[in-house]
């Protein structure tokens, strides 16, 4: 903390309060401990102060007051009266970075046999860590076109694959089949962490539909379920400059 950051009035309050509160504490403790403060003053050859102190409570208060009257002008000279901020100063950032968490969301549709769909979120700050969660809900088989034979059809689960390819070529893949009962599917990858001093920016994330799963009617099987819509949640940690002139990471 810069010493000159505080105004004289703030310093004066701090000094006065400290002298009363902590000086007072020491004073009362000294009585309990039977410390002879006047003997200490005598050793310091402060004869006039000693005689004032020995006049009793009023003399001792006077000594405290004189100490304060000596300290405050010294502070006034050292700090400069009226110095210090009246309002919070505009933010003057030093070079400090902090981690910040956020979530990016990307949605898309992948079809069976189709090309992998790009799902890379647009994140500018340096990403140092991330957790990826791909979620989808499989189609309800009773949705059109159920067809004349699909009175109580069952839609077989879909399988989706999530692939993360880092700028250095390292690839991580995860795939899963959705729950046939709830129809909810999820693939998780992570936590992915950047190497020290590096970042994950420049990565490529894709989603592909490995298998859409046929719709099984009572009498006939048909293949109207060609793929699925999905949402990718990217929980990421970035380094942002909380202070300093830099706007990029360290």
């Amino acid at each position: 903390m810069a010493r000159t950051g505080l105004s004289f009035s703030a310093w004066a309050v701090a000094t006065t309060a400290s002298l009363i509160v902590y000086g007072g504490t020491i004073y009362f403790v000294s009585i309990a401990m039977k410390w002879r403060i006047d003997h200490l003053l005598e050793r310091l050859r402060l004869g006039f102060v000693v005689s004032t102190w020995r006049k009793g409570f009023h003399g001792q208060v006077a000594v405290f007051a004189v100490v304060l009257l000596v300290l405050l002008p010294i502070e006034a000279v050292a700090i400069g009266p009226g110095a210090g901020p009246k309002e919070p100063r505009p933010f003057q950032p030093p070079d400090i970075f902090e981690e910040a968490q956020d979530i990016a969301e990307v949605s898309g549709v992948s079809t069976e046999g189709g090309d992998p769909v790009n799902a890379t979120p647009d994140i500018e700050p340096e990403i140092i860590a991330a957790n990826l969660t791909l979620q989808w809900v499989d189609d309800d088989a009773r949705e059109p076109p159920g067809g004349p034979f699909g009175l109580t059809p069952k839609n077989k689960p879909d399988t989706l694959r999530l692939t993360v390819r880092l700028a250095g070529g390292e690839t991580t893949t995860g795939e899963a089949m959705n729950d046939p009962t709830t129809r909810n599917g999820e693939v998780k990858i992570g936590p992915l962490r950047a190497s020290k001093g590096g970042n994950l920016n420049g990565w490529s994330i894709t989603v592909e539909c490995v298998s859409a799963g046929d719709v099984q009617g009572r009498l006939i099987t048909y293949t109207q379920d060609t793929g699925n819509a999905w949402t990718l949640y990217v929980e990421y940690t970035t380094l942002i400059a909380v202070a300093g002139n830099s706007t990029q990471g360290p």
Partner: protein
């Protein structure tokens, strides 16, 4: 009770008593209430009414409580009974109000413990307020809905009460050992935190707000009332603790100087805590580029929402800072908790009941009540009960204490007794404070509170909840106090 009978209860030395009394007096309010009041009511100028309140109300009342214990050498109910048989209920009511306050106070200690374990991973994430409301409190929609409960908080409530029981059951001797650790600990931890926070960018901005005096505030009567109220609550007066503790002092014990030491160390800690709190808030405001008014808060919100936000923003050592801060909160509060429970147990012991059995019973009851406050709905009750028990119950007991000693007892005789063994002496000024100034100001505080509640309610809570959580329990406690004073008429 004769001294020989309770010889094992006596403090082994002055240091043990002083530390226990200081530990009881200093509470969480030093961190989350006092600094906020200073900011709100004139910055450094607030110290003027605060110090005046200390000398004309706080210290005189502290002398009264330590003097009552020393003079009558028994707990609050039986001390007041010696003055006037009809006044024993005041002592019992004081102890019961303190007991209820501690039951929700221990929930705050449990939050501190839970947050201490959350700190290494900064588990509150990017939205500490939301985390506190949903993951810690499981906050319900209102006092009528019990809501969920955090198993972690519940477990820590039980741990806290187990700690309290293990200390209280062993009596004064154990307390004098425990306070050797728990009273210096918050001072040491706060000093470490101060070294850390004072170096932060923007700390001086926060300190400027904390210390720079606005003398215009002194013409506002509300500022003076706040200063007197803060002194009263900061010294943990009218909870029966100081009377119980000083009743276990040896006959030659000093009253006046002990009162000064306890009071000065208490406000010294609060002043120091303000420096740490405001340097942290100054850093937070600077880092976020927002005015101080947007980050300053008081109460649990400061400790469990604002501070975690600040901790997450620290450039380095955030986890360590978090652990130290929440450990400091726990050590700060645990003394007040076991002191109050000890006072209740000593009161029951002085009634002739088995001390160990009563300690267990009080802790089991307290733990059960605390578990209710730990639910999602319990947080709403926390505020309602705190509002009435502190600002109506405790203040009423303070007025009655002054009345009992100032008017029913002979104050000159009381002064003679206190001065007899004290290094510093009190005189007419003390009597004047106890007969007129302190009860007068406490009455103004009480009336202002009642008028405010009657006209504006409290935080929008429904009337039924204010009656059920505030006024009704206080009235019931008054009646139980009367019953207990007849059930146990005391013994010499």
């Amino acid at each position: 009770m004769a001294d020989e009978e309770k010889g094992e209860d006596l403090w082994s030395g002055r240091l043990g008593f002083l530390l226990a009394a200081i530990g009881s007096a200093i509470g969480l309010g030093a961190v989350w209430r006092y600094p906020y009041l200073v900011y709100e009511y004139g910055g450094g100028a607030f110290l003027i009414p605060f110090l005046i309140a200390l000398f004309v109300s706080g210290i005189p009342l502290m002398i009264l409580e330590l003097g009552v214990g020393k003079t009558f050498r028994t707990s609050a109910p039986f001390a007041f009974m010696r003055v006037n048989k009809k006044m024993a209920w005041v002592g019992w009511a004081t102890l019961m109000i303190g007991f209820v306050i501690i039951s929700y106070y221990t929930v705050v200690l449990a939050w501190s413990l839970v947050y201490m374990f959350y700190s290494p991973k900064l588990s509150w994430g990017g939205d500490p307020q939301n985390f506190f409301n949903n993951e810690v409190l499981h906050l319900s929609s209102g006092p009528g809905a019990i809501g969920g409960v955090s198993i972690a908080v519940l477990a820590m409530v039980l741990v806290t009460w187990l700690v309290i029981y293990l200390i209280v059951v062993k009596g004064i001797k154990m307390v004098s050992k425990v306070v050797m650790l728990t009273v210096p600990a918050p001072y040491i931890l706060m000093t470490i935190l101060a070294f850390f926070t004072l170096r932060l960018h923007g700390a001086d901005v926060g300190l400027e707000y904390y210390l720079r005096p606005d003398f215009h505030a002194l013409v506002n009567p509300e500022v003076w009332l706040a200063a007197f109220a803060q002194i009263f609550f900061a010294l943990s007066l009218s909870t029966g603790v100081m009377i119980a503790y000083s009743s276990r002092l040896e006959k030659k014990a000093d009253v006046v100087n002990n009162s000064y030491i306890v009071s000065f160390l208490d406000i010294g800690y609060a002043f120091f805590a303000g420096i740490v709190v405001f340097s942290t808030l100054g850093y937070m405001a600077s880092a976020q580029g927002v005015p101080m008014s947007e980050v300053v808060s008081g109460g649990p919100g400061l400790a469990f929402a604002t501070y975690p936000t600040a901790i997450s923003m620290l450039p380095s050592g955030a986890a360590m800072f978090g652990v130290l801060f929440f450990l400091m909160l726990f050590t700060l509060g645990i003394d007040s908790a076991f002191a109050t429970i000890e006072a209740v147990a000593l009161g029951l012991k002085d009634a002739g009941l088995n001390y160990k059995r009563m300690s267990l019973m009080v802790c089991v009851l307290g733990g059960g009540l605390a578990a209710l406050f730990a639910t999602g709905g319990g947080y709403h009750w926390f505020w309602i009960v705190d509002n009435f028990f502190n600002e109506v119950g405790i203040v009423t007991m303070g007025i009655l204490e002054c009345f009992i000693i100032g008017y029913l007892y002979d104050p000159d005789n009381f002064v003679r007794n206190v001065n007899e063994t004290s290094e510093l002496h009190v005189g007419r000024f003390w009597i004047y404070c106890i007969k007129y100034i302190t009860p007068g100001i406490l009455t103004v505080m009480l009336v202002a509170k009642l008028i405010q509640t009657a006209t504006s309610g409290f935080e929008g809570y429904p009337l039924w909840s204010l009656l059920a959580g505030g006024l009704l329990p206080l009235v019931v406690i008054g009646f139980i106090g009367v019953y207990m004073s007849r059930r146990w008429p005391g013994r010499d």
